[in-house]
């Protein structure tokens, strides 16, 4: 099956080099970020000074103790940082020499539902699965209406998934096989066109090719076309391709795959290229010696949906496959550059929502952009739900925030509405 996404926009932020998996770069610290897991209340089980092995549990979900968050690398816990209202910002680990030696997990002989689920929960890989609505970690005892493997990436400057999947083809196929075991419903592999990456995977995997500009690679877009969801209509799960490789690696060796392939790129990067880096690495170590002169902003993730890597959160998110570095706008007196999208400037003053023709082109497919934006602005949760807010998370509205002359942050407004809807549904 092939689905063509017509509307959208590919931001031009400079060269996107070819994706290669050979070059490596290390990091002396690793950090588990609380912001990776929206809506989770953490029960932290470690204290600063404790020695920990990669794969050992660092925290669990207070309301669902079965869901474990494990140490991405081995070493000594150096800090547990808390943010507003005692939320967890990060758990920081000083990596020791044997830090890339993971705890060994018992791999089941035969792949069946409960065994795979238990293995994923114990190894922390369950937390790589996200569900819609709301974009949080699914309950381990529920079944989704569909499970989507996201193997297409249209974020600006994102790495090309195909060379990475080819390099780890065996693990990827094994991961798909394990995923097909955890439930009986449809399993979609969302991929770029004309790439045979699912060879050797089970028959149940349905390949769907997505072409077009961003947001063609977002799970929200895939869910819209393949299995739309609404109020009281079940949930859809999705997982990224590198997490599927990690699952395959775990089944193959009994150990965690403590690496990720990321793209280091952006207008302020001297030599943009793909790197194989440690899981949850400190971004400061990864960008050292790579930056152009001048003030920069280092972003874990894409320029559209990543987070600023600074302070206690200066780590590569486990969900992100890229590090973007943009020139920072540091003077409030600089004139906005017309047409320039290459820095962190707001590009004008905040104002009213002017429904220019461009906005509908930046909207997620099937969503009426301006009515939804207005519903979000006035916090009309019923209308927002009716207009499809449950299909969406923050990243789906990033393009609208990017293009809207009002400079409102629709991702943040959507999250407010989703939190209210979650309370209503509970």
């Amino acid at each position: 099956m092939r689905i063509k996404v017509r509307a959208g926009l590919d931001l031009q932020l400079g060269d996107r080099p070819a994706t290669k998996v050979e070059e490596r770069k290390g990091s002396s610290r690793a950090g588990l970020l609380g912001r990776d897991f929206s809506g989770v209340k953490f029960d932290v089980k470690v204290e600063p000074g404790m020695r920990i092995q990669a794969g050992e549990a660092v925290a669990c979900d207070r309301h669902r103790p079965g869901i474990m968050f494990v140490a991405p690398m081995g070493g000594v816990i150096s800090a547990v940082n808390q943010g507003k209202r005692r939320s967890l910002l990060s758990v920081i680990i000083d990596v020791e020499q044997a830090g890339d030696e993971s705890k060994r997990f018992d791999v089941p002989d035969r792949l069946h539902r409960d065994a795979v689920r238990q293995l994923m929960l114990n190894s922390g890989l369950w937390t790589a699965i996200r569900k819609r609505p709301f974009g949080d970690i699914p309950d381990s005892d529920r079944d989704p209406r569909a499970l989507l493997v996201t193997a297409v990436d249209t974020d600006p400057l994102a790495p090309d998934p195909i060379p990475i999947i080819r390099a780890y083809a065996h693990q990827f196929a094994l991961g798909l096989e394990a995923l097909s075991a955890i439930y009986d419903g449809p399993l979609y592999l969302c991929q770029p066109p004309a790439a045979d990456i699912a060879s050797g995977s089970p028959d149940r995997v349905q390949r769907v090719e997505f072409i077009g500009p961003h947001p063609a690679g977002l799970p929200g877009t895939h869910i819209h076309f393949l299995c739309p969801i609404g109020f009281d209509r079940g949930e859809v799960w999705h997982i990224g391709y590198q997490d599927v490789i990690a699952l395959g690696h775990l089944l193959n060796t009994g150990k965690l795959w403590l690496q990720r392939v990321v793209m280091l790129a952006g207008p302020a990067v001297a030599k943009p290229r793909a790197l194989t880096v440690p899981l949850a690495a400190a971004t400061g170590d990864l960008v050292r010696g790579e930056l152009a002169p001048g003030a920069v902003r280092v972003i874990s993730g894409s320029a559209l949906s990543g987070h600023t890597a600074e302070g206690a959160e200066a780590f590569l998110s486990q969900r992100h496959r890229q590090i973007t570095v943009l020139p920072e706008v540091d003077s409030i007196l600089t004139e906005p550059q017309s047409g320039g999208v290459c820095d962190t400037g707001l590009g004008g003053n905040p104002g009213p929502l002017i429904p220019v023709a461009q906005l509908q082109r930046l909207s997620p497919p099937g969503i009426l952009a301006v009515p939804l934006m207005r519903a979000l602005l006035v916090n009309d949760i019923d209308l927002a739900r009716d207009l499809g807010a449950l299909e969406l998370v923050e990243e789906d509205l990033a393009l609208l925030t990017y293009g809207c002359p009002s400079k409102s942050d629709y991702g943040r407004l959507l999250r407010t509405v989703l939190e209210q809807l979650r309370k209503e549904m509970a």
């Binding site: 999208v341 009213p352 429904p355 461009q358 009426l368 991702g411 943040r412």
Partner: protein, 365 residues
């Protein structure tokens, strides 16, 4: 002064679009229209002066032009420019002044920074005025437009009508002869100018020959009419800018053209009088093109869904022809049709949203 502050979180990059960028683009798109308006107003004036000869009554603008020693018997580019500026500058100045005063009063009262969009409104309003419009009418129309079309609703982006459109409509309704009287079209008192559409009403297609109007002269804009609306060519240049910058919706513009063609074709089959006027004449006569590109597409007061834009466009385009053929006292019909279309926009959007919600519910079901 605009400043560029840094973004605080995702998305870290933002497009350089803001209210002031949009308004600057809209003004930029109006440049060819303003140039055409100045030149054609002056050209028509000189032509009329030449043919009217001694019968004319000299008012101050005529004396100003006389002061420059312009030779009206051989109209030159410079002469047309001066004659045009003499007509357009007072109207524009009064419009800007009265709009600015209203804006100033409201911003002072509300302790908010002054919004600059009154300049754009005043410009569009002035271009929809005939060259000899009374300055009192200009001031009254503009003040009404700013107060009741914009300021009371909270300013930019919160209006349900284009303020300029409301102002023109108010002048048109309050002073019916002020915008359709014969002397107005060239700026010379005593000269029998005429809106070609009302002439068409009276005399049928013979009026076009009588006034020496070919389709191409109407397209390029060497005819009499509201100052900014005569040149369809200049309007099309502006339309390209607005559509290319994705500010105006091409669906809304094309929708109006299609609506106009449809209703004009239906009228053609009925036949008789102005009903016989074919769609390609409807396109270039009167202020249809200007209204369709610069007034109807005001983003804040037009439909905000793509389907809604098609529907609203078709309604407005069709309504232009309906008013033109049915109502002789509104020979142009564009202002009334756009007013109706703008008022319908929220209703149209509401229906589109309702269909979208129903469709979504069915997909889940």
């Amino acid at each position: 002064m605009s400043s560029s502050r840094p973004t605080r979180g995702a998305p870290h990059v933002r497009a350089a679009t803001s209210l002031s960028h949009i308004q600057k683009t809209q003004v930029f798109a109006l440049v060819p229209v303003v140039v055409a308006a100045v030149l054609n107003t002056g050209y028509q004036y000189l032509l009329a002066l030449d043919s009217a000869g001694d019968k004319i009554y000299w008012d101050w603008s005529d004396r100003t032009i006389y002061f420059f020693g312009l030779d009206y018997q051989n109209p030159s580019f410079f002469a047309a420019l001066i004659a045009g500026l003499v007509h357009i500058i007072p109207i524009l100045a009064v419009a800007i002044l009265s709009a600015g005063l209203c804006e100033r009063a409201f911003s002072t009262k509300r302790n908010l920074p002054m919004q600059k969009s009154f300049l754009l409104s005043a410009l569009v309003f002035s271009l929809l005025m005939p060259p000899a419009a009374s300055l009192l009418h200009v001031a009254l129309g503009m003040i009404f437009a700013m107060v009741f079309g914009k300021c009371v609703f909270g300013g930019d982006g919160k209006t349900f009508l284009n303020p300029a459109l409301l102002g023109v409509a108010v002048v048109q309704i309050s002073f019916p002869t002020a915008l359709s009287g014969h002397p107005l079209w060239t700026g010379i008192e005593g000269y029998n100018g005429s809106n070609i559409l009302s002439a068409y009403h009276r005399e049928g297609s013979a009026a076009l020959d009588w006034w020496g109007i070919s389709w191409w002269s109407a397209f390029i804009g060497t005819t009499q009419g509201m100052m900014g609306t005569t040149s369809v060519l200049a309007t099309m240049l502006g339309a390209v800018v607005l559509v290319w910058r994705q500010i105006a919706s091409w669906r809304l513009i094309i929708g109006q053209v299609l609506g106009l063609i449809l209703i004009a074709s239906v009228c053609n089959t009925l036949g008789g009088g102005i009903l016989d006027m074919s769609w390609y004449w409807h396109l270039v006569l009167g202020s249809f093109a200007f209204g369709a590109v610069f007034v109807a597409t005001d983003p804040a007061s037009s439909a905000c869904t793509d389907t809604g834009r098609w529907v609203q466009g078709a309604v407005m385009g069709g309504m232009v022809v309906m008013i033109r053929v049915v109502n002789e006292s509104h020979p142009d019909g564009v202002i009334t049709a756009l007013l109706l279309g703008s008022v319908l926009a929220p209703l149209i959007d509401h229906v589109v949203v309702w269909f979208n919600i129903r469709q979504r519910a069915r997909r889940y079901g």
